[in-house]
């Protein structure tokens, strides 16, 4: 079953974008390269009303945020484990992630719910934005929740602050440009 931004239903422009061949960044990331510049080359060729489809191993929130500033709305679907498909549409970017399950906090971090817990993506935020966004999220949570953080690096500075609030890093998975941390209370 498709997951992702399903709560809001697909936007009207999605029908046209479905015809476009996806640009799969997963092999690029697997080779340890940053696909950002190649993505930007593709974006440069897209005019008003145009679209781009990207396959990624995670919900690429920083990219969605960056392209929203360049006028792209986006719609994401989780197709399988470690496989997200994001549709971008050049229309002014007014409705990026609006109406979807994704919430954007004060620091600009996106959070959404998946089966394994409440996810928060703090990549590309300026320090101490990631730390503040994570702490702000957990301070309002039920201690039984699991929080999954998507970070650019292992946030060592966060460890003392988590401990002060009774939270800890349960496990870590480090991938290129996506260090995932599972935070638990107790």
């Amino acid at each position: 079953m498709d997951e992702g931004d399903k709560a809001a239903g697909p936007p009207a422009w999605l029908a046209a974008a479905l015809e476009i061949e996806p640009f799969d960044v997963r092999p690029i990331l697997a080779d340890g390269e940053d696909p950002f510049s190649r993505l930007m080359d593709k974006v440069a060729d897209i005019g008003d009303g145009g679209a781009l489809v990207v396959d990624a191993p995670f919900n690429p929130t920083p990219l969605r945020r960056t392209l929203a500033k360049q006028g792209f709305s986006s719609y994401g679907r989780k197709l399988a484990a470690a496989h997200w498909r994001i549709y971008f549409h050049q229309d002014g970017g007014a409705d990026w992630e609006q109406g979807a399950e994704v919430t954007v906090g004060l620091e600009g971090a996106a959070s959404w719910r998946e089966e394994d817990g409440l996810h928060i993506d703090v990549r590309k935020l300026a320090p101490p934005g990631p730390m503040v966004a994570i702490l702000r999220l957990i301070e309002g949570l039920n201690p039984a929740e699991t929080v999954v953080v998507h970070h650019e690096r292992m946030p060592q500075f966060l460890i003392p602050e988590l401990a002060e609030r009774g939270w800890r890093i349960d496990r870590v998975v480090e991938e290129f440009a996506n260090v995932q941390l599972w935070l638990e209370h107790g």
């Binding site: 503040v132 650019e152 003392p160 988590l162 290129f176 260090v179």
Partner: protein, 427 residues
């Protein structure tokens, strides 16, 4: 995890605790020794205009032994974590400490006793240590694309360090050869490069990361950091050249540019602090806030000197404001926050239950240190302004007692950390 994913090696970027803490412990010990020397040489403080003796030795124990020692230890640990780049081999970090610690002790002995061999040998060891640190830090900073404000201030600091070390060596040799055309101008330029250039820029740059992080406030905009770094660099270059050329009004102009940079810096930090998540400011702010107030005061005193104000009282007062009032107050404030912070970080990274910051830091030694440090500064200022030795003696005694309180804090921190590790062994 998808195929081909690789570890980013983040754990490697956290140095073994013995590396940063050897710098911090040395800084705490030399801090006490510096105040002790000042107590012994109190009658030299009033009207001090430079020259070998106890005051110069105490001054260098503070600048090299406390300020540079703490800054380098903290930079070795914090910069790689903040920038995500490797620092360099551990042996080079340890070599930096050996050279800097030994060199500072030998140099201070040479200055206190006017022993030429110790003066030259100590200066050479210190410069060698600083250059190893410079290579390590420059290697980490090269290619960093994030944190532009921090990185640019750090580059200005490293540039100042090269000039500062060169002038320091020349000055050490000049005590026995007298070949420098104007020893005093070179000494003032050396002090400006050290106080505002190297340490000042490290303090400004690191504050952009540390202060918002400690208060959980908003990030300082990159544009502010870029602007303050550019202004600081401009003020430094113009100021140092003008000092060496004896152009007082130009030095004052450079001081004004420095004031603008400081105003911009403090405004940005104030905005971050106002936006903080933490309701109460932590206790180390009782040192940071006065330090921030003294920084512009030191620049104003320097500007007055550059414009020809009588130097008999103002010159030692400027030194007091710059080294003890601004930098030592700021650095001891940061030191008492990052020591337990790093201890907590290290306790959590090895898989054991992290030690709580609030449980690691003992409150009473810090309150005692802050009170005694404040009294020491006030008494020294009174002694300098009234040409009276006894307030200087009282001030140095208070400073020494405050330094011992800070050592007591560190000893208690180590005891609590060990107790936590025994109760919660690493997994």
């Amino acid at each position: 995890m998808f195929a081909g994913a690789f570890l980013t090696g983040a754990a490697d970027r956290l140095l073994p605790p013995s590396v940063p803490y050897r710098f911090f412990v040395t800084a705490l010990v030399l801090h006490a020794v510096a105040w002790g020397l000042l107590l012994v040489g109190a009658d030299e403080v009033v009207g001090f205009q430079g020259g070998l003796g106890m005051v110069l030795a105490a001054l260098h124990l503070v600048t090299l032994g406390v300020l540079a020692m703490t800054a380098i230890g903290a930079a070795f640990q914090l910069l790689p974590v903040a920038t995500g780049r490797q620092l360099g081999p551990l042996w080079a970090c340890r070599l930096t400490w050996w050279l800097l610690a030994t060199g500072t002790a030998v140099l201070a002995y040479g200055m206190a006793t006017a022993t030429t061999a110790a003066l030259h040998g100590g200066a050479t060891l210190v410069v060698a240590g600083l250059m190893v640190a410079l290579v390590l830090l420059a290697g980490t900073l090269a290619g960093v694309k994030t944190l532009p404000g921090v990185v640019r201030h750090a580059w200005v600091a490293l540039g100042a360090l090269v000039l500062l070390a060169t002038l320091g060596l020349l000055l050490a040799v000049d005590f026995s050869t007298g070949w420098l055309p104007d020893h005093q101008a070179a000494a003032i330029a050396h002090a400006v490069l050290g106080g505002y250039g190297f340490m000042g820029n490290l303090a400004l740059g690191f504050s952009y990361v540390l202060v918002p992080m400690f208060v959980l406030g908003g990030a300082v905009p990159d544009a502010v950091g870029k602007r303050t770094a550019a202004l600081a660099a401009l003020a430094l270059v113009v100021g140092v050249v003008a000092i060496l050329e004896g152009a007082g009004p130009v030095v004052a102009l450079a001081g004004l540019v420095g004031l603008v940079a400081v105003a911009e810096h403090l405004r940005a930090l104030a905005a971050s602090i106002r936006s903080r998540m933490k309701k109460r400011l932590e206790t180390f702010f009782r040192l940071l806030i006065p330090a921030w107030a003294v920084l512009p005061a030191s620049l104003l005193a320097g500007i007055a000197l550059a414009l020809g104000a009588p130097s008999e009282r103002l010159a030692p007062l400027w030194g007091l404001l710059l080294v003890f009032g601004w930098l030592l107050t700021f650095v001891t404030g940061i030191l008492q926050r990052i020591m337990p912070f790093l201890a907590s970080m290290h306790s959590g990274i090895t898989g054991g239950k992290p030690a709580l910051l609030s449980k690691l830091a003992a409150g009473w030694p810090l309150a005692l240190h802050a009170a005694l440090h404040g009294l020491a500064l006030l008494a020294l200022a009174v002694g300098i302004l009234t040409d009276t030795v006894w307030p200087v003696r009282i001030g140095a005694a208070c400073g020494l007692a405050g330094a011992l309180a800070l050592i007591a804090f560190a000893v208690e921190l180590a005891r609590r950390y060990r107790a936590h590790r025994q109760a919660n062994p690493p997994l």
